[in-house]
Amino acid sequence: MEMDWSVIIDFLPQLLEGARTTIYITVVGLLGGVVLGTLAGLMRAYGGRVLNAIAFAYIELIRGTPIVVQVMFLYFALPVLADLRIDPMSAAFLAIIVNAGAYIAEIVRGAFLSIGKGLTEAGLAIGLPHWKVLVYIIGPLAFRRLIPPLGNQFIVSLKDTSLFIVIGVGELTRTGQEIMASNFRAVEIWTAVAIIYLVMTGTLSLILRTIEKRMRIL
């Protein structure tokens, strides 16, 4: 079999355009996921019975179903159920937000609860309200412990965007698929796609490792 690596050069602009969409979905999705996950995680850790139950149900529902099913549901079932038509990009954003949020919630809960009770008591004992203890004392300590598992989730979510091929979002994997369908250069194109993913996840790892190095785990 003969390889023709020059096709990669020819299609590189198209692949990079796909990668751009992948990055766009990942960044928006993770920003939302971190907000949602932090909220749900804190509800789990410190909420009353009702808040805790709501967050628990959300986390279990999302962790217990495959992300592909979640995307399919958002894109194909929701319009039928609620007469709510959403475009593929919005479904993709929403899927990453909701999915990453559930995993991040558990990461946040674990990090906050791993900080010794004594520090919370020390904060309360000088007369701070509980929320200020969380913001000024426990939060900054928990944040340091969040980084490694959060990085893991960021990478998983980035790769999960490839599943949006099923609803026709033009991200990197779908772009590769389309190019391949026109020229049948499977080895070259999929190699290029894999390498572009590696560059993206590698960059993410590097950023996280730099942050981690700057902050001592206490």
Binding site: G116, G118, L119, E121, A122, G123, L124, A125, I126, G127, L128, P129, K132, Y136, I137, P140, L141, L218
Partner: protein, 241 residues
């Protein structure tokens, strides 16, 4: 003038009754030493004073405020009653100076410069001004505990609560902490101290309370009750500390 008043106060953890109808009144300027076997309720008694444990029966009044009051009242009580913990519990991400300046800035609303100044004065007082820029992990246990005392004092409390402040320290480090506490008592600070340091109790304490099964079994002058324990259980206890 009474500053702490337990009125038939009880505290239960589920079925376990840790404080059983305690009546106790502490006046301004007293240095009350709380002793007793483990599980006798002395730490719980102390922790009820600043509401780290919620009482389950009776009432407990601190400087005119009930610990069963609103969250805001409870925070006021906590600002009046500083606490020092066995495990120091310094904020590890902050320097000694920032640990001490934290309360004045975040609780008393002082600006940065004022909070810093207050903190430096207090570090001076506990003999650690030169360690202001050090993080807790860079300090010895005794130094950490002295910073913790400064941190509690920085909020300008009327009462200081000490929960076994020297129990986690090596013998040679205990003394530096006890010296700071002695100086504080000499300034007239009202103190409630859970400790096993009988020397401290005799020299600095104005009152000694021996607890047993959630009750106050002995309440008297430290020198008198330590030298001639009025109760067999206390005599037995003193032989083991």
């Amino acid at each position: 003038m009474t500053i702490i008043e337990f009125k038939n106060t009880s505290k239960s953890f589920g079925p376990l009754k840790v404080l059983d109808g305690v009546d106790l009144s502490i006046d301004v300027g007293e240095v009350v030493v709380l002793v007793g076997p483990s599980g006798s309720g002395k730490s719980t008694l102390l922790r009820c004073i600043n509401g780290l444990e919620m009482i389950t029966g009776g009432d407990l009044i601190i400087d005119g405020l009930s610990v069963t009051g609103s969250a805001r009242q409870l925070r006021e009580i906590r600002q009046e009653a500083g606490m020092v913990f066995q495990q120091f519990n310094l904020f590890p991400q902050l320097t000694a100076l920032d640990n001490v300046a934290f309360g004045p800035a975040k609780v008393r609303g002082l600006n940065r410069a004022q909070a810093r100044e207050t903190a430096l004065d207090l570090l001076e007082k506990v003999g650690l001004r030169d360690k202001a820029g050090h993080y807790p992990a860079e300090l010895s246990g005794g130094q950490q505990q002295r910073v913790a005392i400064a941190r509690a004092l920085a909020v300008k409390p009327k009462v200081m609560l000490f929960d076994e402040p020297t129990s986690a320290l090596d013998p040679e480090l205990k003394q530096e902490v006890l010296n700071v506490m002695r100086a504080l008592a000499e300034e007239g600070m009202t103190m409630v101290v859970v400790t096993h340091e009988m020397g401290f109790a005799k020299q600095v304490g104005t009152r000694l309370i021996f607890m047993e099964h959630g009750h106050i079994a002995v309440d008297g002058n430290p020198r008198e009750v330590i030298d001639t324990p009025p109760n067999d259980r206390m005599k037995d206890f003193l032989q083991h500390v």
